[in-house]
Amino acid sequence: MRLPRFDCFDPRTVEEACARLDAHAHEAKICAGGTDLLVRLKQRLDAPRALVNLGAVNALRDIQFDAETGLRIGALTTLRAIADSPPVRAHYPMLAQAARAAASPQIRNQATLGGNLCLEKRCWFFNQSQSWRQARAACLRAGGAQCWAIQSADVCHALVVADTVPALIALRAQVVITSSRGARTLPLDQLYAGLGNATTRLAPNEILTEIRVPAPLPNSHGVYLRYSTRPAIDFALVQVAALLIREEPDGVCREARLVVGALAPTPVEAQQAAAILNGQRFTHDVVAAAADAAVKEVKIVPHIFLEPAAKRRLARAFLAEALQQVMRDT
């Protein structure tokens, strides 16, 4: 299976990359690790004239940790480097779990954090080969008039399923977005465009260059879990990131952050469920009530082989498991 023809640019600095994008913004695609983009190109989901390949921009590859200011991760850092990073493992184990949960070792050796955060939304009716898609009228995302996932919908319902997203939202990460006009910072949850064809709010000439995670809070503990048919290779069918900050020494929950992913177009922060946990000591009843509340807050998109009710049951089970793990681990 050959890739379509394209030209390739290899900027060495962010500035050069931005200049390339300014010159070719609407006909070029940014390529970081390429593990998702090249599959999309093979499936002819994109047909850019050119790739702006960030592989040579070495400045975007390091992880810096400071106990005061937190974590700064260059966008080209691989998922493997994050999963193996001592400060990430020590201070943000939930992020290491999420990075390690993605795909396969081969993919994690190549896929980047920036690429993972910008991973295009997926749908069983869209992420297929060109010839496969010819068996149906084009969907909304492919320029057609219909959403196949929800046939009454007039807007695309594809899902953000990248593993690091729910964990980094729970960690209140910010992303730095750079263009030739300068840099801006955005809370990660605001990067995503929600319903509709676009995955992110990045303009065509913008590059996600850095991820910043605030300094770890004392007595905080986070867990990332996912459900997938297999423990490797698959994209997640359900994602749960749970981060709890508790009072010492009585263990009462001061703040809970529950983010569920892969159910709705973008990850959802379950605030009512968090409210149930806040100010509480953990019991099985509290955990059950929070898990029940959390899944009610999400409007679940039907899945090709999982009914929304089945996804809800699974999500509830994994939320309960995540909260119990936090209880066990602290």
């Binding site: 379509p4 390429g34 592989g55 699974l314």
Partner: protein, 975 residues
């Protein structure tokens, strides 16, 4: 955009002109000829193309070649540096971690990266490291063992290199000897010197070094690339196929459509009753999404792809049907409008029968029916103390061989056709292809290649194979057609989904008195093996339990789904899932141990089946008893549990043919004895991972009293090897093996005659063993080579060649009737019993397969290492089919045609494997051997379903047993 790049591969710099869009995989294989890097999916999901980039494993299919500049790239060809094998390459051979070999280069490189970073990994480290390398053959068991063994050896030796040349033949024998020495502690004590020993495979060295050649690796000068245009509609009339725009595209060499081949018809089932219903390209209608419409040959893949997009097709959409029960209704759309006339294969070979129309079945869209009645079912049920009726449904599964289907065809001006095919029987493919192309059979030469896994999926002759040959004839150039992974999933073959209604009556002690089976198999848009699978579902089931009163009705049904065909144990997993699930339920109803119920009904040696097959060997009861003992069944069954994680055990049994009579009806073999004491064995068998090359050589070596290293095997080639049944219905060991044994025995008799004259002892006093032929005392005699030289000299130069042949059922000309299941089926049945232990997470519904205990009666294990590997592969495929594999279809469209979305088991989910062989010594088999390659997938499904019931009280009657189904069933139980 073309540009110069410099790649550093295996320590050497290469300056190349590449296009920007070429991947590292494209360039390694096409430009540098490093074909040890395998193309499995091309989308980064299977790991077959794993290479090391600066020491880290990456999928070469997702790396742009230009982006790999400045990196150190290691491929499998670079691992044996200076001709010295890496310890991993040795360990993979020693431990039986290599089967088809297609995943092997990628796994070895991934493992190398692991050991470079972590010299003392745990078992969990290994499983995690190789989680991105799919393997369909081994279930990862022996791969994991081999990596751990290599790590241990490297740490122990301190040196990472074992001296041995990787490429030349003489030293490869040295390498094998080293491997063998390492295995000496594994040697079973048995009366034989070569068979029965866990010897490393003959093809292991080629496979661990990336030298083994598969179809996709064949390169011929001037080779064109072929691509196929397929239907996007499930059912439509072809109004127009216009190729005029495509023909004008520069680089297009030939285009063919259904009009060109409208008279060509063939099929796997081609009998007077069921005539062939497939054309290479659609003539009037398309009947499923993926049906072939046109084929293009062009100078390169890009041009061929573009040409397809320029073919204009006009369709008249027809109503379609996807549910077999709906397809049987009177008002359902009719998929095949007219009966086809005529039959070929059977009539030519003398099996004349009156053609029977299929119109009489009373249902619509019936492609086949099997009806069997034994005893008096009504009377039987009247005698029963307890009767149960259940309905079971099984899903569609994929073969998942890592090598995608591929054909290379080269038509010579003389009219001879050379082909290289992903196949399981070169003589079967030759016959069908020759007929379809209108050639004499002998004008088609199928060349030998290794096959990267098959599992039934490479038996049929496929349109892409015909088209490659046809396009080569049109262009006068070689043509290669390699299917994409999606095409493999959608347009080759899948396992038949079945609906099985089962009514069983038993006495209070569990003795079955009557059974009624109604089975519906959806064979998709063409007949495929529909009438075969409904016959086999009966034939693989009847050797298990004695059922005095029995009625079986099986229907195969046309729908507008993809075509279904043979898949490992063809029909057995489905029926065995239903039977042993119900038997477990019956045992619960009666308050009995299911093991007792199984043993109460199990068949024994000496039983005669209703069709006349005699069980001359039958280790079924011993398999059951030993699996129960070894697995700890009694302590583990029916445990009272309250925690979140609950364990349970379940058991099931299965049986399988050891070959059956079908074209070409017999296998032959020949041996040539060389004057240096080595021999060449000629056999038409295929090496697709199952180890036939090695086990056949072991049989020949044993018979002649020489060593495995003395045997070179020419296999799988229609001109260089004599005719062979091929490797399906598990006839390899018994049928081909017997032919090989007889060929070796024939040559031995010739040598004995000469030696007997020279030593002046009668031939019956002679023994061939340890590379010597002697009378009583090994010192009194001569070496094998001396005997060969003497024979040649004393017989005027006449070479010593042995011939042998074997027919599965030599004493009958009654081929089995698919419709009535009469006539003899097979010379012998292999048996297995399997106990599965699962752990169910009651919170999430997830099922973890903890341990599988398999006892297989393969008669006699010719090579225990290979036999274990076959069992491991069956267990893994059975695990997949029970728990996670499911081809998702909506309106005839496959939603998961990729290794990302179709869930083959991965390394992380491998269960603990306990396995043992029951040696029942089948009298017809070589040294007592019979089937081992297929049966033990079929016991896995009910064993797991029964284990889940034991663990959490939930019974699932449809597959796969997915977490969400368990959660739903638990909720329903909780009310």
């Amino acid at each position: 955009m073309k540009e110069w790049i410099r790649l550093r591969v295996n320590g050497s710099d290469h300056d190349l002109i590449v296009e920007s869009h070429w991947t590292l995989l494209d360039v390694l294989r096409e430009n540098l000829g490093l074909t040890g890097t395998k193309r499995g999916c091309d989308t980064g999901e299977c790991g077959a193309c794993t290479v090391l980039v600066d020491g880290l494993p990456r999928n070469a299919c997702l790396v742009l070649a230009r982006s790999a500049q400045g990196c150190a790239i290691t491929t499998i060809e670079g691992l044996a540096r200076g001709g010295e094998l890496h310890p991993l390459q040795l360990a993979f051979q020693e431990r039986g971690a290599v089967q088809c070999g297609y995943c092997t280069p990628g796994v070895i490189l991934t493992a190398k990266a692991l050991l470079d970073h972590n010299p003392a990994p745990t078992e969990d480290d290994v499983k995690a490291a190789i989680a991105g390398n799919l393997c369909r053959c081994t279930g990862y068991v022996k791969i994991t063992e081999a990596i751990l063994a290599a790590a241990e050896k490297m740490n122990h030796d301190g040196a990472s290199i074992v001296r041995c040349k990787a490429t030349d033949r003489a030293s490869s024998i040295v390498a094998r000897q080293q491997v063998k020495d390492a295995l000496s502690q594994r040697r079973a004590i048995n009366e034989h010197a070569v068979v029965g020993q866990s010897l490393p495979r003959l093809d292991g060295l080629l496979k661990v070094t990336g030298q083994a050649q598969y179809v996709g690796d064949v390169r011929l000068p001037g080779m064109h690339v072929g691509k196929i245009l397929r239907s996007p509609h499930a059912h439509a009339r072809l109004v127009k196929v216009d190729i005029s725009r495509a023909e004008k595209l520069p680089g297009v060499k030939a285009i063919m459509t259904g009009r060109d081949v409208a008279n060509v018809r063939y099929a796997f089932v081609d009998t007077p009753r069921y005539s062939a219903d497939e054309h290479p390209l659609a003539v009037d209608k398309v009947r499923y999404i993926g049906d072939e419409i046109a084929a293009v040959a062009a100078v390169d893949e890009e041009t061929a792809e573009e040409a397809l997009s320029l073919i204009d097709v006009e369709y008249e959409i027809l109503p379609a049907v996807f549910d077999p029960e709906k397809a049987m209704q009177p008002n359902a759309p009719v998929i095949h409008d007219a009966d086809y006339e005529g039959a070929s294969v059977w009539e030519e070979w003398g099996a004349q029968r009156t053609p029977t129309s299929t119109a009489r079945y009373g249902y619509n869209n019936i492609s086949g029916q099997t009806t069997v009645e034994i005893g008096d079912v009504a009377r039987g049920f009247a005698l029963a103390d307890h009767i149960r009726t259940d309905r079971f449904e099984t899903q569609v599964t994929a073969h998942g061989a890592l090598e995608p289907h591929c054909a290379v065809a080269h038509y010579e001006p003389s009219g001879k056709l050379n082909v290289w095919l992903s196949s399981m029987s070169v003589f079967y493919k030759r016959y069908i292809l020759a007929k379809a192309l209108g050639l004499a059979t002998s004008q088609v030469h199928v060349h030998s290649v290794y096959v990267g896994g098959a599992f039934g999926g490479k038996i049929d002759v496929f349109p892409y194979e015909f088209c490659a040959a046809y396009l080569s004839r049109q262009t006068g150039q070689p043509v290669k057609i390699e299917l994409t992974r999606e095409e493999v999933f959608v347009t080759t073959r899948q396992r038949h989904p079945m609906i099985i209604e089962l009514k069983t009556g038993v006495k209070r002690d569990g003795a079955i008195v009557a059974q009624k089976v109604k089975l519906i198999a959806d064979n998709g848009a063409y007949r495929g093996t529909g009438p075969v699978v409904i016959f086999l579902a009966h034939a693989f089931n009847v050797p298990i339990y004695r059922v005095p009163n029995f009625k079986y009705t099986g229907y195969s049904v046309y729908t507008n789904n993809p075509i279904r065909g043979p898949q490992r144990a063809h029909g057995a997993p489905q029926i065995r899932f239903a039977m042993d699930s119900q038997l477990d339920l019956i045992a619960r109803d009666l308050g009995l141990d299911p093991v007792k119920v199984m043993l109460r009904n199990a068949r024994e040696k000496g039983d005669v089946l209703p069709n006349g097959d005699v069980l001359e060997s039958c280790g079924l009861k011993e398999c059951i008893t030993r699996a129960v003992e070894t697995s700890g069944w009694r302590e583990k069954r029916g445990r009272a549990q309250t925690g979140r994680l609950r364990r349970g055990v379940g058991i099931s049994a299965c049986s399988m043919f050891s070959g059956a009579p079908f074209y070409p009806f017999a296998s032959a073999a020949a041996v040539q004895l060389h004057d240096d004491g080595a021999i060449t064995l000629f056999t038409g068998t295929m090496e697709m991972g199952q180890g036939a090359e090695t086990t056949m050589a072991q049989i020949a070596a044993e018979e002649l009293g020489i060593e495995l290293a003395d045997v070179r095997v020419i296999f799988g080639d229609t001109e260089l090897a004599p005719i062979d049944l091929g490797n399906f219905l598990s006839g390899g060991a018994l049928v081909t093996g017997k032919a090989v044994q007889l060929a070796a025995a024939d040559a031995k008799q010739q040598l004995f005659k000469v030696v007997s004259e020279m030593l002046e002892v009668p031939p019956e006093k002679l023994t061939a063993r340890g590379r010597r032929i002697f009378a009583g005392d090994p010192k009194i005699g001569m070496s094998f080579g001396e005997a060969v030289r003497a024979s040649i000299l004393r017989n005027g130069g006449n070479p010593v060649m042995g011939r042998g042949y074997y027919k599965p059922l030599p004493d009958t000309d009654q081929y089995p009737s698919l419709a009535r299941a009469k006539g003899r089926f097979t010379p012998a049945y292999g048996y297995a019993a399997q106990v599965a232990e699962v752990e169910v997470d009651t919170l999430t519904g997830e099922v973890r397969l903890v341990q599988v205990t398999t006892f297989h009666d393969c008669g006699f294990p010719l090579n225990p290492l290979i036999v274990e590997g076959q069992i491991d592969g069956n267990v893994s495929m059975g695990q997949g089919q029970a728990l996670c594999e499911d081809v998702i279809l909506r309106e005839g469209q496959v939603f998961n045609p990729s290794f990302l979305t179709y869930a083959l088991p991965v390394s992380l989910t491998q269960p603990r494997a306990a396995r043992g062989e029951v040696a029942s010594l089948e009298p017809k088999g070589p040294f007592g051997a019979k089937e081992v390659g297929e049966g033990s997938i079929a016991g896995m499904l009910a064993a797991i379903a029964n284990a889940v019931h034991d663990a959490v009280g939930v019974r699932l009657t449809s597959l796969p047993i997915a977490a969400e189904k368990i959660l739903l069933a638990q909720n329903a139980r909780a009310g």
